[in-house]
Amino acid sequence: MAALSRPFRHLGRRWLDYRLGKRRERQSLDYRRIFILPSPGGLLFSAMILAIWLGGVNYSNSMALLLCFLLVGIGISAMIHTFRNLSGLELRAGVPDAVYAGTEVRFPLQCVEHHGRRRYGLEILYPGKPRPIPFDAQADTDTVMAIPVAASRRGRLHLAEFELRTRFPGGLFVAWSWIRLDTTVLVYPAPESGEVPPPLDASGGDSGNVRSHHGEEDFHGLRPYQPGDSLRQVAWRTLARGQELQTKQFAGYGRRSVWLDWSAMPELPPEARLCRLTRWILDAEAERRPYGLRIPGQAIAPDLGPDQQTRCLTALALFPGGAGVQEPDHVP
């Protein structure tokens, strides 16, 4: 049975692919994308109507038949309204910020309503989640919500194809559509926890990219404050002048830079090495010590700051072997 159903499932899949189209960054629910069937409650409702009809016929009672047919009409009307509750809705995906493996990523989702009517009782069924996420879509503004998804492996995490369904109004019918939105998030390796050995300072004096060795910290400029910046570097003087909170940046970097090297820990398996490198990057940033990254096939020259951190963590996240890394690049 299962063997037989596989080709059919494959066919069904292909039909769906044809019908739903490619992944895009926004998706409008037109009639070709909406499916509708009676719900279990609707089947019970039909059974009740049948029983009423039998009673009406048995007692030759026109009034009972009239009400029986009215309930049929209500059922048909419910079907139309259930379909309408999805029809014309547009969904757009946002790009979430990168996260570390083992945490949760919240994919932002925007429901754009072009018809000026509220959609009640929508539900998102995300694969692997036991409970649907219920929400209402507002009439006059875009509704923004988030699908929380566990980021278990490093790499590129795609927003999976999920089901958007509704049983409103009345729960007699269920209308649904498969939503395929093209959005991905980078998942950095989880930083190794606990005590880790410091990176070997194997570079020696070779630190060509660093500007100066004066031992003095030269003021270089100001940038907006970011959480995690040391309070000693906050530009209190500008704050006192009523400007926004800023952090002083220094050129010259009084300390010596460090190379974070893949080959420095031959005893660890590859994924564990990536975790340790991640930890080292975060530690170096915290210590404000310039760092470079060397992994097989790639080397990033020493530097410091959010851009450097992003660059290095991205390299680690996309290191071969991670989730979704082998696939061709989807990022627009």
């Binding site: 409650g41 019970l44 409702f45 009740m48 029983a51 009423i52 039998l54 009673g55 016929v57 048995n58 007692y59 030759s60 009672n61 026109s62 009034m63 009972a64 038949l65 009239l66 009400l67 029986c68 047919f69 009215l70 309930l71 049929v72 009409g73 209500i74 048909i76 009307s77 419910a78 139309i80 309204h81 379909f83 309408r84 029809s87 014309g88 757009r92 946002g94 790009v95 932002p108 989702l109 925007q110 072009h114 018809h115 000026g116 009517r117 009640y120 009782g121 539900e123 649907p132 219920p134 929400f135 209402d136 875009d142 923004v144 049983r167 409103f168 109004p169 009345g170 729960g171 627009p332």
Partner: protein, 653 residues
């Protein structure tokens, strides 16, 4: 937390509306249900309310099971059966009550509402008035609204939030209902046997008559039947609607003869036939009513040996039949002497004074005509009073009526007269039925009410046959000329509708009756036969074609409703500045900065400018213009939108 403690799934107000609606569904049933079922339902509803209000607990499963079994046993004891409509309704009501104690999940509430829909329909099996239908439609609306509210996975603002939606669904359901009602194939019932007990409590004549039985009936203004004449309407004194003919007498009660002597007496018509259609309300007996005397009828019926019209089935629902009657006739002129004897039977030792009086008259008179004349003269000349409230008889009702009280209603006059006739050896019998009727000017049809119930006498004269004699007419001719209302005193108690001069109340009632009559005629009476006639008229042959027509029109109507619903919700044009801003965002997305759903224009512009310092100027300019148009108070809106568009066009330019 215990399993029976409830984390409330229904908001308080929704729960109250649910309980009230279901109680309203049960209310009309309560008149018939055993009192304990109603009480148990209310108790369950109260309990459920207190669960939500005061944190009471729901009964454990074992207790609910026990209650279910007890309820079923109790219903069996009350009705001696679990089958049939009455017991079925009782079971449904009890189940609904117990279901209330189970309202824990969404599905339980849905099942309770479905049970409610079902109970609404069962009420219509009992009572089919237009008002009841309107009440039931109101309940269906309320329950549909509740169904929408409780099945919605997100919280509603209140139980009435979806009232409008439920209303529009109901209205959209009407065309479908109408189509199905007309075209869905009607199958003649019943599909299974109906116990006799299903139809009780209907008013009407019975198959026997004692003193007081008809005057009791005249207290009711219920419609007995309605008549449409297909020609001239006979004058009121001719309107004798023949019902059960009572020829058996035991000294107090007149009864129908048994049906074994099945033959139809001979009839010779002396006038042309009169055509009319009767719409008879159900009375649960087998007789049909027709003007004296019916000769043709288009329903399954026969005439018995007393020339009374009998249906083959008890009249359990409204029936319509077309009859022809001949108002002047000679009935059973050839009555054999052996049979005539049974119509002169009087039990021994009853009414001695009356019997003596009649024998004296008989000796004085030359023929039957003289004898009848003497009897009628007695009624006319003695101080008889026609009243709805005759004094109760102590020992011998006929003797006391004829000699002492002399106050009576039509059954007293008919009964006493028939006794006098029989005592004089003249064959006589009592005929019950209705006399008169009121033309409703709003529909051109005649209403005959229970208050028009009447009794009169037929005596048999050789070679002339049975002759109708109405002693009441001799005492109170107004009764026959203008109805009961004119014949009795102003102070006597009579339903307002039975009075013909009732003023505007009466006129309104007549108008309402016309609406009801049309409802009965076109909706309630619509069954297999009427459907067949409609199909013949439409030229649709056979059930297959009818189903085809139904399917086609259903598809059309559903399509029309869908188009209407979707069309009404067609996309609203977006504001021009939003379209322009969207274009700008798309352009930035191609440049590598995608706007996040949650980002407002200012945040997005700041971020984009940071990420693309080379474009910062243009970005800020566009964003500022957009914010000004969208959120600011701009006096020259079209110009401002135009400026925004230009800024976007110049962007990167």
């Amino acid at each position: 937390m215990s399993r029976n403690a409830v984390t409330e799934l229904l908001p308080h107000r929704t729960l109250i509306l649910l309980l009230v609606s279901l109680a309203a569904v049960l209310a009309p049933h309560a008149l018939r249900l055993p009192a304990w079922v109603t009480a148990a339902f209310l108790l369950c509803a109260l309990w459920r309310y207190l669960v939500a209000r005061r944190g009471l607990r729901l009964p454990p499963r074992s207790l609910r099971l026990l209650a279910t079994l007890l309820a079923i046993a109790g219903i069996y004891l009350s009705y001696d059966t679990l089958l049939g409509l009455d017991a079925g309704v009782a079971i449904l009501s009890a189940m609904l009550g117990l279901k209330l104690l189970e309202l824990r999940r969404r599905r339980d509430t849905v099942v309770a509402l479905y049970l409610g829909y079902f109970l609404v329909v069962t009420q219509l099996l009992y009572h089919q008035s237009l008002l009841m239908l309107l009440y039931m439609l109101l309940l269906v609306w309320a329950m549909t609204m509740l169904l929408i509210t409780v099945t919605r996975p997100t919280a509603a603002a209140g139980p009435l939030q979806h009232g409008r939606l439920a209303g529009s669904m109901l209205i959209q359901a009407l065309p479908v209902m109408f189509l199905l009602f007309l075209l869905f194939p009607r199958i003649p019932g019943p599909l299974w046997g109906m116990p006799q007990s299903d139809h009780t409590g209907v008013t009407g004549l019975s198959d026997s008559m004692t003193m007081g039985s008809i005057s009791e009936l005249t207290q009711s203004a219920d419609v007995a039947f309605r008549v449409e004449f297909h020609g001239d309407v006979p004058s009121t004194p001719e309107l004798y609607w023949r019902g059960p003919v009572l020829s058996g007498y035991d000294g107090t009660t007149w009864r129908q003869p048994d049906e074994t002597a099945a033959f139809t007496p001979s009839l010779e018509g002396l006038a042309t036939a009169l055509d009319y259609t009767v719409a008879l309300e159900p009375h649960n007996e087998r007789w049909l009513f027709a003007l004296d005397l019916p000769v043709r009828i288009n329903t399954r019926a026969h005439l018995n040996s007393e020339y009374a019209l009998r249906s083959t089935e008890p009249v359990r629902e409204r029936v319509r039949y077309r009859v022809s009657s001949i108002l002047r006739y000679r009935l059973h002129a050839d009555l054999p002497a052996t049979q005539a004897r049974s119509y002169t039977y009087l039990p021994d030792h009853h009414h001695p004074k009356s019997v003596e009086l009649a024998r004296e008259w008989r000796r004085e008179s030359n023929d039957i005509g003289d004898f009848v004349g003497l009897a009628l003269a007695y009624f006319r000349e003695r101080p008889f009073t026609y009243t709805l409230n005759p004094p109760a008889a102590d020992t011998d009702p006929v003797d006391e009526f004829l000699f002492d009280t002399r106050r009576g209603f039509c059954e007293h006059f008919a009964s006493a007269f028939a006794v006098l006739m029989r005592a004089g050896n003249v064959p006589a019998r009592v005929v019950t039925g209705y006399q008169g009727g009121e033309i409703n000017p709003n529909g051109g049809y005649m209403i005959v009410r229970q208050s028009d119930a009447h009794a009169w006498v037929e005596v048999h004269v050789e070679n002339e046959g049975w002759i109708r004699i109405d002693p009441t007419a001799w005492v109170a001719p107004e009764r026959i000329e203008s109805g009961l209302d004119g014949a009795i005193g102003e102070t006597e108690r009579l339903p307002a509708l039975a009075r013909r001069d009732g003023g505007w109340m009466h006129r309104m009632a007549l108008r309402w009756d016309a609406v009801n009559a049309n409802w009965d005629r076109w909706v309630l009476a619509y069954g297999p036969q009427m459907q067949q006639r409609l199909m013949d008229r439409l030229g649709v042959e056979g059930t297959g074609r009818m189903i085809g027509l139904l399917a086609m029109s259903l598809i059309l109507i559903t399509g029309a409703i869908t188009a209407l619903v979707i069309w009404r919700g067609r996309p609203r044009p977006r504001d021009p500045e939003v379209i322009a801003w969207d274009r700008f965002c798309a352009r930035l997305a191609r440049a590598g900065v995608r706007r996040q759903p949650h980002e407002g224009p200012r945040d997005f512009a700041d971020r984009a400018a940071r990420q693309r310092p080379d474009l910062a100027n243009g970005i800020h300019q566009v964003a500022a213009r957009y914010i000004a148009v969208r959120y600011g108070r701009t006096r020259h809106r079209p110009q401002a939108v135009q400026a925004l568009r230009r800024a976007i066009a110049d962007f990167r330019g």
